[in-house]
């Protein structure tokens, strides 16, 4: 059901998004004539200056916003609204504070729409908490967890409903430098284990090049694509690798 690797999963077809001007202010064109595609199983990073509409792009894909013109296609069909096949992982984790760690992961599984899919709630929760290395924290509340743990919990909650793509909106931006590096490894580990397609927005060029198969470089608003860089380096990648450093340097120059 998740499609063969290499198949087209997402396509932006001349997508434009304009926020109408309110109270006489001029309309803001956030995204202009955007065209790109993402294949099943890919890890794609999107980088660009802050305020360039990267998050808006994810909102379009999540179905929280419709495009002003053009089409956003998911498996060949236009996106009509939020659905569990496209799960968002927010920058500031949007965990349910009144539910425990296990309760947050189980939330999606217990919804009417997802019941009766043959997955046992308890064993799925256990497996996911193990995947994100939160076993032992099942009965803690989100407020008891550290920033990195909350981010991992949010990923586990998203994975619970077996999405086809994870939309990650600067998921590591709020973490300190050390936690951030460790989490980059964790996200890659989760990606390799689950083989989900990941669309990863970041403003950190290093992070993008270390993690992704492809890096899409966006220009300042209105967002359009400056360049798409295929990163063909084998994993695990090392920051000190001169080839990697070369790519980072070139992309940095592009953004300046």
């Amino acid at each position: 059901m998740s499609g063969a690797p290499g198949q087209e999963l997402v396509r932006f077809d001349r997508v434009t998004l304009t926020f109408p001007g309110v109270n006489g202010r001029p309309a803001i064109e956030v995204i202009r004539q955007l065209d790109f595609r993402i294949e099943t199983g890919e890890f794609v990073a999107i980088i660009g200056p802050s305020g360039c509409g990267k998050s808006t792009l994810l909102s379009l894909l999540a179905g929280y916003l419709p495009p002003s013109s053009g089409r956003v296609l998911f498996r060949g069909k236009p996106i009509a609204g939020p659905a569990r096949e496209r799960m968002m992982v927010f920058q500031q984790p949007a965990l349910f504070p009144w539910l425990t760690t296990a309760g947050n992961v189980a939330y999606g599984l217990k919804l009417k729409a997802n019941r009766g899919n043959g997955r046992n709630v308890q064993s799925t929760v256990d497996a996911l908490l193990h995947l994100v290395q939160l076993d032992g924290f099942a009965h803690h509340y989100p407020s008891d967890l550290s920033g990195g743990m909350r981010q991992r919990l949010e990923i586990a909650r998203a994975l619970a409903v077996d999405p086809q793509v994870l939309l990650m909106d600067e998921p590591l931006a709020a973490l300190d430098a050390l936690t951030r590096r460790r989490m980059q490894g964790e996200v890659l580990h989760i990606w390799e284990k689950t083989r989900k397609t990941i669309l990863f927005v970041t403003h950190d060029i290093d992070e993008a090049v270390i993690m992704a198969d492809r890096v899409i470089v966006m220009a300042q608003r209105p967002t359009s694509i400056l360049e798409i860089e295929e990163v063909r380096l084998p994993r695990p990648r090392r920051r000190e690798d001169p080839e990697l450093a070369g790519i980072v340097r070139r992309l940095s120059a592009l953004l300046e």
């Binding site: 999540a62 179905g63 929280y64 609204g81 939020p82 659905a83 569990r84 496209r86 799960m87 968002m88 927010f90 500031q92 949007a94 349910f96 504070p97 009144w98 539910l99 939330y107 999606g108 919804l111 009417k112 729409a113 997802n114 509340y141 989100p142 407020s143 909650r157 998203a158 619970a160 409903v161």
Partner: protein
Amino acid sequence: MRPLVLRWPSFRLIERAALPRWALRLVGPLTVLLGWELGARFGLINTLLLPPPSAAFGDLGVLISGGYLGKALYASLFRVVCGFALAVVVGALLGLAMARIRLVDDFFDPIVELLRPISPLALFPLAILWFGIGDGSKIFVIALAACFPVILNTFAGARSIDANLIRAARSLGASEFEIFKGIVLPASLPHIFTGIRLAWGISLIVIIAAEMVGATVGMGYMVLEAQQTFRTERVFAGIFVIGAIGFVTDLGFRRLRRWLLPWYRETQD
């Protein structure tokens, strides 16, 4: 986490006196009572107007053993509980509906804002005409006065929910009803609870005032009657009981919140 409290160095001695915190918190009220008692004994204050606390506590014993306090307390608390319960149910439902449904907000918000500044006691004479001198009129004014903090706090709570929580639930596949039940309601509970605590405080204030204006039994009536017969020690006995009820019930509300909302941290506000 330890709250930030400025310490004067010499106070450390008292803190080191190995008294538990609750005992330390009794020191203030007991000092006031002791000063008052001594002032009365040594003729520094007019005991006709300000009888010593010992006289008030003595009369409290008489009231209890005579069964008079029990009767008054039962009458008052019955009215308070009924009015308060009405206020909580109506207030929470209306607050939630106003926060999530635009049409309901447009209909009720002007009504709420028009009624809110009116002193509930201004409506009490009318309430007596409508519901009689008994329980009905008191329950009505308590419910009316106490529902506003519940409405306003519930509304604020349901409106201040992080939009991403609702988006996350929607992506996970939640229906509109599941979002209301599973996200909007629990996310609003801390605010609703604050409204409930305020409503209880208001209920206690309103009942005494209402019973002083028109009643034949109750704590407010008891205090007023004592004043009219110049038994000031009985006035104070009644005041002590009213204060104690407010103090103990608020403690109970805090316990209840810790038990019902274990995930909620007051410092998150």
